[in-house]
Amino acid sequence: MRARSAFFAGAGSVAIIAIGWQAGVGTLVSSLPTSAPAASGTTASAGTAAGTTTAGNSAGAGTTGTTSNTSTSPSAAAPAAPAAPATGTVADGTYNGQTINTRFGTVQVNAVISGGVITDVVAVKLTDQGRQSVNISNQAAPMIRQEVLSAQSAKVSNIGGATYTTQGYLMSLQSALDAAGFTG
C-alpha cells in the first residue's frame, strides 16, 4: 500500500473505533453515587466501571453457590439489590445503568431513585424469546438472604407463611403478635 493511503487507512480505522468507543461510553452511568456495592458481592464484576451500584451483573454473577442447571432459567443478570445509598446526595430520577453483557445477550438496567433510595431496577435492553435469550426483567433470580433480610422485624404487624392450622396458629409467631396487640 502506498504511504499516503496507508496513513488514511490507519487514521480512518482509528476514527471508526473511536466512534464505537464513544457510543459505548454513552451507556455507562457516571452520576450514581459510589456507595458500597450490595452485600451480594456480585457487583465486583463488570458493574464497577462507572461506580454503578445497581447495574445488573454479568452472566451468572448472581449464581452464588447454585450450580448452573440445564433448565430454561438463565444464569443471566441478577440485578443487585438496591444498596443503601447515601441519602440526600442523589437527585430523584431514572439513571441509565451499564450495559451488561451476558451470554444470553446484552442487558441494560435503569435505576430509579426516589427520595434518595433506589426504588426500582428496570432492565431496559431486553432480548426476546426468539433468540433463546430470556426476558430477565421480571424473572426470579437467585438472591442472598442478606439482601432480603430486614431489621424491621420489631415493627411487623402480620406474618405470612404457608397455611397453619388452628393448632399451628397457637405455636406461630402470628399468635404472639396478636396476643401483644390484642385489646380485647
Partner: protein, 460 residues
C-alpha cells in the same frame, strides 16, 4: 509517441494502485467496524476486571476472525475488480496467508468464551461446552462449523496438502463453505451484538449476503453463463513438439470474449476422464475473436490425456483471469522471460497491439531446443515488434542455483547483460515455480523495483 505511451501506462498503473489501496483500506475498515460495533455495545466493560477479560477477548477474536474469514472468501471469489487490481494469484496468496491466523482467532474465540462463560456459570470449560451445546440455540451448529474449519485448514497446510490428491483436497476445501454457513446462525442469535433492530445486524447481514452473492455470481453463475454463451468446442489439435500440443477451440460470439494476452483460463474438457478436472492454461495466442488457442505440455498427469483429445469435444471455462498482461504495465519498457510452457503467455502478450516496437526484450529458456516451443511464432513476433530475442538452451549448471543455462552462466551472462535496461522495465516472468523464484531473485538483485516484477507461477 513514447511520451503518450508513457503517460497512458503511468495512468493505468496509478489507477491500479489506487484500486489496490482502496481494497486494502476497506479490509482494515471492516476490522475497525466490528471493533466499533463491539465497543458501541459497551464492550469496554469486559476489560475492567479479570473475570470478564476472557469473555471480552473471546468475543473480539470471534468478531475479527469471522470478519477476516469473509475477506478470505471474497479473495477467492474471483471478483473481477480484485482480479484486475491484484491478479488472481496474488489474491489467492493473500487468502492462503490469512488461513492460519483466522483459524487461531476463531479457536481462541471458542476456547476463551468457554472459559469466560464457564467461570460465570461456575462450570469448567468442558461442562460449559456441553451446557451450551444442548441449551443454546444454533451453538451445536457452530461447533460443527469449527470442526469443519479445523479440517479444512489442516488439509491445506502445505505439508499435508502435498500428500493429498488435488481433487480430494479441493473437495475438503469446499467444506469451508459449510463451516461458514454452520457458524452463521449463532452469530445472530447468541450474544446480542447483532440483535434485532440494531444497525450492526444489518451491516453484518449485508456483509454475508454480499460475500455469498459474490461467490455465487462470480464462481458459478457467470462462468456457466459464459460457457453456455460461447459454446466452445475443440476444433484442432496440433503437435508442436513431442509431448506438446496446441489446442484450438472455436465457438460462438468469441469476439465478445474479453481477454488479454497473458491471461489464463480454467478449462474443463468434457471428455472421458478429463471432465472432473479443470486445468489452468494461458492462452498461447491473444484472443482474436475467432478462436482461442492454448498450448499444453504433457506433465504426466491428466494433461497427458489432453494430447489425444478428440476434436468436437465440448469445453467449458472460467475466466479469463490474471494480470499477467498488459494491464500490469507500469513503465514503457518490458522484459519477458519464459521457460517451458511458461512461454505461452509471453507469446500471447507479444501480440498485444499496445506493445510498442523496440520496447521489449524476450528471453526464452528450455532444457532442449524442443522445449522452447512456439519458438518460431515467438521469433516472428519479435521481428515484427523489433524486440530483441535471446534463447538459452541447455541444462542448469550443476551445483549452482540459477535460472540460466550452463552455457550462458559460464559465459558470464546475467540479467543485466541480457537486458541492459531491466531496471526501467516491467519484467514478466513465467515458468515452473522454483525457476521463476530464481529469476525473481535475480531481478531484485539487479535493482528492479518490486512493482515492476510480474511473475506467474504455475501452480493451482
Amino acid at each position: 509517441m513514447t511520451t503518450i505511451d508513457a503517460t497512458r501506462i503511468k495512468r493505468q498503473h496509478t489507477s491500479r494502485l489506487r484500486r489496490g489501496d482502496l481494497l486494502s483500506t476497506l479490509v482494515y475498515f471492516s476490522v475497525a467496524i466490528v471493533l466499533a460495533i463491539f465497543l458501541a455495545d459497551g464492550g469496554a466493560a469486559y476489560f475492567t476486571n479479570i473475570r470478564d477479560l476472557a469473555t471480552g477477548v473471546g468475543i473480539v477474536t470471534g468478531l475479527i476472525g469471522s470478519d477476516l474469514l469473509l475477506v478470505m472468501l471474497l479473495l477467492a471469489a474471483r471478483i473481477p475488480f480484485i482480479d484486475r487490481t491484484f491478479g488472481h494469484d496474488t489474491a489467492l496468496a493473500q487468502h492462503r496467508k490469512l488461513g492460519k491466523p483466522v483459524l487461531y482467532l476463531i479457536l481462541a474465540h471458542m476456547v476463551l468464551l468457554l472459559i469466560g462463560y464457564g467461570i460465570s456459570a461456575g462450570l469448567n470449560p468442558i461442562a460449559e461446552a456441553i451446557d451450551m451445546f444442548f441449551n443454546m440455540e444454533h451453538l451445536w451448529m457452530a461447533f460443527i462449523g469449527m470442526a469443519l474449519m479445523i479440517l479444512v485448514v489442516v488439509t491445506s497446510l502445505v505439508i499435508v496438502r502435498k500428500k493429498l490428491a488435488y481433487q480430494f483436497w479441493y473437495l475438503v476445501h469446499l467444506l469451508s463453505y459449510g463451516a461458514v454457513l454452520a457458524a452463521l446462525p449463532h452469530q445472530f442469535s447468541a450474544g446480542m451484538l447483532f440483535a434485532d433492530g440494531t444497525w450492526a445486524r444489518y451491516y453484518w447481514m449485508a456483509f454475508y449476503v454480499i460475500t455469498l452473492a459474490a461467490i455465487t455470481i462470480f464462481r458459478v453463475i457467470i462462468p456457466v453463463a459464459l460457457s453456455l454463451k460461447h459454446s466452445l468446442v475443440v476444433s484442432e489439435v496440433r503437435v508442436e513438439a513431442p509431448g506438446v500440443v496446441s489446442i484450438t477451440m472455436t465457438g460462438r460470439r468469441l469476439n465478445e470474449l474479453k481477454g488479454k494476452g497473458g491471461q489464463f483460463i480454467n478449462w474443463r474438457f468434457w471428455a472421458p476422464k478429463l471432465w472432473w478436472v479443470s486445468h489452468p492454461f494461458s492462452l498461447s495466442a491473444a484472443p482474436d475473436g475467432k478462436s482461442l488457442r492454448i498450448t499444453v505440455r504433457d506433465l504426466g498427469d491428466t494433461s497427458h490425456r489432453l494430447l489425444t483429445i478428440p476434436t468436437g469435444t465440448k469445453v467449458s471455462f472460467e475466466g479469463p483471469y490474471g494480470i499477467f498482461s498488459e494491464s500490469a504495465r507500469t513503465t514503457t519498457k518490458a522484459v519477458f522471460i519464459g521457460a517451458g510452457v511458461g512461454i505461452t503467455p509471453i507469446r500471447a502478450m507479444l501480440e498485444d497491439p499496445k506493445l510498442k516496437a523496440n520496447d521489449a526484450t524476450v528471453i526464452l529458456r528450455g532444457t532442449t531446443e524442443q522445449e522452447v516451443f512456439l519458438w518460431q511464432e515467438t521469433y516472428d513476433l519479435c521481428v515484427a515488434k523489433h524486440a530483441s530475442l535471446r534463447v538459452l538452451v541447455g541444462k542448469r549448471p550443476p551445483g549452482v542455483a540459477t535460472w540460466l543455462s550452463a552455457e550462458a552462466y559460464s559465459s558470464g551472462e546475467r540479467l543485466s547483460t541480457l537486458a541492459p535496461d531491466i531496471k526501467h522495465s516491467d519484467v514478466f516472468i513465467c515458468g515452473p515455480m522454483q525457476w521463476t523464484d530464481l529469476v525473481v531473485r535475480d531481478a531484485k538483485r539487479a535493482g528492479v523495483p518490486d512493482r515492476q516484477i510480474h511473475a506467474e507461477r504455475f501452480e493451482f
